[in-house]
Amino acid sequence: MKNDGSTNAPANADAPATTVEPTESAWMRFWFTPMPTTGLHALRVLSGLLFLAWLLSFLGHQREFFSLTGWFGKEAYVEVQRQGNLAPAPIGWSMLYLADESVEMFQAMYWGSLVVLALFTIGVATRITGVLTWVIVVSFLANPAINYDGDYMLGILAFYMALVHLYVGQWSRDLSIPARILGSRGDMLLANRLFPDDAPPAPSFAANFVLRLMQIHFVIIMLTSGLHKLQIPEWWSGVAFWIPLHPTFKTTLESLERERPGAAFTLFYLSLAQYLVLAWQIGLPMFAWRAGWWRVALVGGAIVGWVGGFYIYQLPLFGPFMVIMALSYLTPEEWKAVMERLRPRASETAEAQAVASEPVAVGSGAWKQGVKK
């Protein structure tokens, strides 16, 4: 939290981005500085794409995975609850229970869910689709036979996305009644091209507040997970990566014999990599809010974690979740720098003017210089 005091201070005197008094405490500045919603929109699009990819991955198998006529059927739910909830994780509520054993109703819910997730991703009626997205994500956690830790992380992401879109602009913008209920059309993807005459949105208190909640929640997750790993012998001794890299049914005494001469070398590098992961997780609170090259450690570490986690553990959800959460720490200025790089060259001049006229909330000049290189 080192730079929170300056995070959203205006970059120049003409930029009325904030209403924070310089005398306010660091606490108030941290939580209650209004911020532009550029980063929030990017996070929404990335989260929406992740939710869509997750739900689409079940395509063709959705009924067997989630319906009450599937792998874990209605009788199983009743039996498991009757015996005192045998499931390893609590079985919670789900909108899918409403379909009961009707396959048609279940399929309508699945396809309807995909439509809602797509609408949320592109920013249509985000106040409504945001809440529905959370309901959908949580509902598809209901099968205790096949869900895993990564699914729960999506629930957390969906919760904060729903929360922020419910409140963003309600205080700081002069909205029409439909916009208060459905959400601003400025949330839509490419809104600046679709509605070029619309006034730009005022910075939002809700965007900053909820992103701060996300950031601290992510720190709690990573810190707890890192400390928990240290209680596991394989993590302490540095061989945690070795085991999933040697699938039991494919590993034989002969293959181990062949590997033996280079074992010391392999274990040295695997244990080093593993302790770098632990250092990233446990050290996260110390560098997550720092600007400059620490951003490379933050976002780069999450990306390396994604690739490594997928390669070693074959877990498809943790990585993208970590990257999105790591991106939530970027300041508005850093988002602006990222957007500048992503914009097509053809519209560079016009967009540059737009960027220049928007208020800038300062994170660190070092980051900006770094990105522009």
Partner: protein
């Protein structure tokens, strides 16, 4: 995202800021408390003549608040009941896949294997999660005195894993007073695994119009780096086949 200049946000009243502070601290504290309340370990313990390894409970204040307040009234409705002690960090003691044999009314038998090698990565991952839920088994507690049935009643049977040939286990129902239960190590399938097997076979029998189905769990102890230095006996690199109870479709 626009060419015009952003207007300034209206100042937020102090009362809202205080309310927001309380909500933020409360929300995050409850999440932190839930993570703190999780059991940790396993730790070595040595109390008097007893020793071994055991999980340690979280601190009493965190457990009490989590059990009675945080979980039922806040985290459970929000479906945030994860304590961030990820199960994927802890390696399973056994690697598992399973086979299913479905018998149709005409006597034809359909064989399936899960995870299905032909399925895509995401589906295979879910199938693997189902397979992994079939372990571990449950160890029976030591038996006490001989039990007598209530007048006019029979003693309940106990389901155990019974080794009827090398590397093959079958579920067998034995009397409460059977001598086999006095062996030091007697395992039985966990109630959770049994519920899963029954549910899955019910589903497959319905889908394939089969009259009965059998699920065979194939497992092997997970390979460990110590096997590089001092390999375990070759026997431990063989697959153990455990036949769950047959499911018959009722119609």
């Amino acid at each position: 995202m626009s060419a015009a200049t952003n207007p300034a946000a209206r100042p937020l009243p102090q009362s809202w800021r205080l309310l927001g502070s309380v909500l933020a601290v409360g929300h995050l504290a409850l999440i932190g408390l839930y993570a703190l309340a999780a059991p940790s370990g396993p730790w070595q313990f040595n109390i008097g003549s007893r020793s071994g390894v055991s999980m340690a409970d979280g601190p009493a204040f965190a457990r009490t608040l989590s059990e009675h307040v945080t979980e039922p009234y806040f985290l459970y409705p929000l479906r945030m009941t994860h304590n961030y002690h990820f199960s994927s960090d802890r390696h399973a003691d056994f690697a598992v896949y399973f086979e299913v044999h479905l018998t149709k009314a005409d006597g034809n038998v359909v064989h399936r294997k899960f995870p299905d090698d032909k399925a895509n990565l995401w589906v295979r991952h879910r199938q693997q999660l189902l397979a992994q839920n079939l372990v571990p088994d449950q160890r029976l507690p030591p038996r006490g005195n001989v039990r007598l049935p209530a007048p006019g009643k029979e003693l309940p049977k106990v389901e155990i894993w019974f080794r009827d040939e090398p590397m093959t286990l079958r579920v067998k129902r034995v009397d409460e007073n059977d001598d086999i239960l006095r062996s030091p190590v007697v395992d039985q399938p966990s109630p959770w695994a049994k519920a899963l097997v029954k549910s899955y076979l019910r589903y497959l029998c319905r889908e394939h119009n089969a009259v009965k189905g059998e699920l065979i769990r194939v497992s092997r102890p997970t390979v460990h780096p110590t096997d590089l230095i001092a390999p375990r006996p070759a026997e431990e690199f063989k697959e153990l086949r455990s036949h769950f109870e047959e499911y018959r479709r009722e119609e």
